[in-house]
């Protein structure tokens, strides 16, 4: 095992500028991607610690490690960081940047400078969000949803947090614009639409949502800030406004946003499963089109967050129907992934284990969503911890696990080094068990009727809350083990060749780590599909 430092090869060593500036001013998509990856992972760890603290507070009834106000600030900050600083940018901004250009045979994204600007907006948003916690009149306590009129009345630092979310939205829009343009204009010769890896398809669908839905969040947050600054409320009843309209505008963005979070994760899974089965993805076109269908249909269902809000029954009828229709493309994806396994040659590498856990957990999340989509059942389950468990099944058990899968799948490509597989298996086991215990218990206690956002609860909810907290400790152990293993692997793991997994997409045909401009002097010409494994061999490592 050689001990050459990480920074000695590929895009790490080639840069017009050296040192920190070589990174901070770089317009190279891989460097920006790695910077995103570092920040996003840090943010995830911060928010995960907040989540663990909340679970600790909820271990038994009563006030333990935090007061009600601290708890409210904690879940707000946990939500804002996890949603805006982790999940939304996690796969698109980090892995999208790292992989999109390589996978379509391009040298960079279409607007490299804009890409760097997106990153700076992301960082500025992150700094503002953190400032909002520690400065002013106290950490924001509105929940990440900023519901009016509470958000316009509370004395805490909501305006700064809203400003942060606004900037992060802007960053997300610019990334979306960049990706759509890149996919349309920079595909290599021979890279027809039918040869795009599924990951690219899902990024494409995601980018359109980012472009067309995110501005609605922007204007909504601006209106909340204006209401706080000028006291002139567009959602205030006394000024002819309607608080429920805020919820409409907010969810017009924030429901499609869950597809910004989940679609790229589906793309990751669609890459890993064929590679580890050595078989083409089942139903390529169905998968590609269902990605676009999910992106479109995701814009039609926002008000299913609002069945109990006092909106009209007719709206409940319409949105409930549309919600169930959106379930279909997701179901198709699950069936197609499983069919890909059929008569394949399945290797349970670490990325594959995360992918399989994704399928199961995403299925549980999706099926729980059916109960929430049905009007009558939702009336009972809405705003209970069932909802919290449900969206953690899709967002953490889904996107989070896909993010971990992507780390295990692609990190070796971008560092040139492999992590320890045995430890990766153990960490996966801990994560899988810890995750399911924690959130299954939360779902169960929600069905019992425990409302969400309660720092204290009645004694009848104690057993399940204790189970959930115990599960969270297993989960935490798994996270620590996984990150430590990946970090150690990145720094001094075994060196690997171009293609450790036997993948057939373009990124496995360039060195690990890839050089600046990805493909050397010759522009690549694509002659085969993304899942054509004939003649592709995995390198020994």
């Amino acid at each position: 095992m050689t001990k050459t430092p990480l920074t000695n090869s590929g895009f790490y060593s080639e840069s017009p500028r050296s040192g920190v500036l070589g990174w901070l001013l770089s317009t190279d998509h891989k460097r920006i991607g790695m910077m995103y990856l570092g920040c996003i992972t840090t943010m995830f760890i911060v928010a995960a610690v907040l989540g663990l603290a909340m679970r600790l507070q909820l271990f038994t009834p009563g006030q333990h490690i935090m007061t009600a106000q601290t708890y409210n600030a904690t879940f707000t900050v946990h939500g804002i960081i996890m949603i805006f600083l982790f999940i939304i940018p996690s796969i698109p901004a980090a892995f999208g940047n790292l992989l999109l250009p390589i996978q379509i045979g391009a040298r960079d994204v279409f607007f490299p400078k804009l890409n760097l600007l997106s990153w700076y907006l992301y960082i500025s948003g992150a700094i503002l969000a953190i400032l909002a916690i520690f400065t002013g009149t106290g950490a924001p306590d509105t929940g990440w949803t900023f519901y009016v009129p509470f958000s316009t009345q509370t004395s805490t630092n909501v305006s700064l947090a809203a400003m942060a979310a606004f900037m992060l939205g802007f960053s997300s829009i610019l990334t979306g614009i960049n990706f759509v343009t890149t996919i349309h204009r920079l595909r290599a010769e021979g890279m027809g639409w039918g040869r795009l890896p599924l990951f690219v398809w899902t990024l494409y669908a995601t980018a359109w949502i980012q472009v067309l839905a995110t501005p609605m969040l922007g204007i909504t947050l601006v209106l909340v800030m204006l209401e706080r600054f000028f006291g002139a409320g567009l959602f205030d009843v006394a000024s002819g406004g309607d608080p429920i309209l805020f919820q409409h505008l907010f969810w017009i963005y924030s429901h499609p946003a869950v597809y910004i979070m989940i679609l790229p994760a589906m793309g990751v899974i669609s890459e890993i499963i064929p590679t580890f089965s050595r078989k083409p993805l089942f139903g390529y076109w169905a998968m590609a089109i269902s990605s676009l269908a999910i992106a479109f249909a995701g814009s039609l269902v926002w008000a299913h967050h609002m069945y109990a809000s006092g909106m009209s029954d007719f709206a409940i009828l319409v949105f409930s129907l549309l919600t169930f229709i959106v379930a279909i493309p997701s179901a198709i994806k699950i069936f197609n992934w499983i069919s890909t396994l059929y008569k394949g040659s399945i290797q349970l590498g670490p990325p594959m284990l995360y992918a399989l856990a994704f399928i199961l957990q995403f299925a549980i999340g999706g099926l729980g969503g059916l109960a929430l989509g049905a009007a009558a059942a939702d009336i009972h389950l809405h705003d209970t911890t069932f909802v919290v468990g449900h969206f953690h099944y899709t967002m953490f058990g889904g996107t989070g696990f896909a993010f971990f899968a992507a780390l295990h799948y692609w990190l070796p490509k971008f560092t040139g080094r492999m992590y320890n597989h045995k430890i990766a298996f153990i960490a996966w086991g801990l994560l899988f068990v810890g995750f399911n215990v924690t959130y299954m218990a939360m779902q169960a206690v929600g069905i019992q009727g425990m409302p969400r956002r309660y720092y204290d609860y009645l004694p009848e909810f104690q057993t399940l809350n204790m189970v959930a907290t115990l599960g969270s400790w297993v989960l935490a152990a798994g996270l620590i083990m996984m990150f430590a293993n990946l970090l150690k692997g990145m720094l001094n793991g075994k060196l690997i060749g171009m293609n450790p997994w036997g993948g057939a997409t373009l990124e496995w045909q360039v060195p690990s780590p890839p050089p600046m401009l990805n493909f050397g002097k010759e522009d690549p010409v694509v002659t085969r599909g993304p899942y054509d494994y004939k003649g592709v061999k995995a390198d020994e490592f």
């Binding site: 067309l212 609605m216 429920i244 008000a303 909106m311 009209s312 007719f314």
Partner: protein
């Protein structure tokens, strides 16, 4: 990447469109002097849409751009109609308790 060059649009075309836009503005203002009830708002919106189309297709050269640009615009408009339309399923049918 090959570069498609667009032919310059003659000055006269732009000026003609501008005249049309001014006339359409005059029509909207004129119609607004008479009360036709709900018809007013629809006339105003139709004229505004017509004006927008002129600006989009001529001033903004959409006429000369490829199909992709037009599909993008269409997608945006569809999403817009969905956002507005579905919000109205709530506000138009809200039950007011006696």
């Amino acid at each position: 990447m090959s570069e498609e060059k667009h032919e310059p649009v003659p000055y006269q075309t732009f000026i003609l469109i501008w005249v049309a836009l001014i006339i359409l503005t005059g029509i909207t203002v004129g119609v607004a002097q008479f009360d036709f009830g709900a018809v007013n708002i629809w006339v105003a919106l139709s004229v505004a849409s017509l004006k927008s189309a002129l600006v989009l297709f001529v001033f903004m050269h959409l006429r000369q751009e490829s199909l992709l640009f037009k599909i993008g615009l269409l997608a945006m408009l569809i999403i817009l109609v969905i956002f507005i339309g579905l919000t109205f399923t709530d506000v138009l049918y809200r039950e007011v308790l006696p």
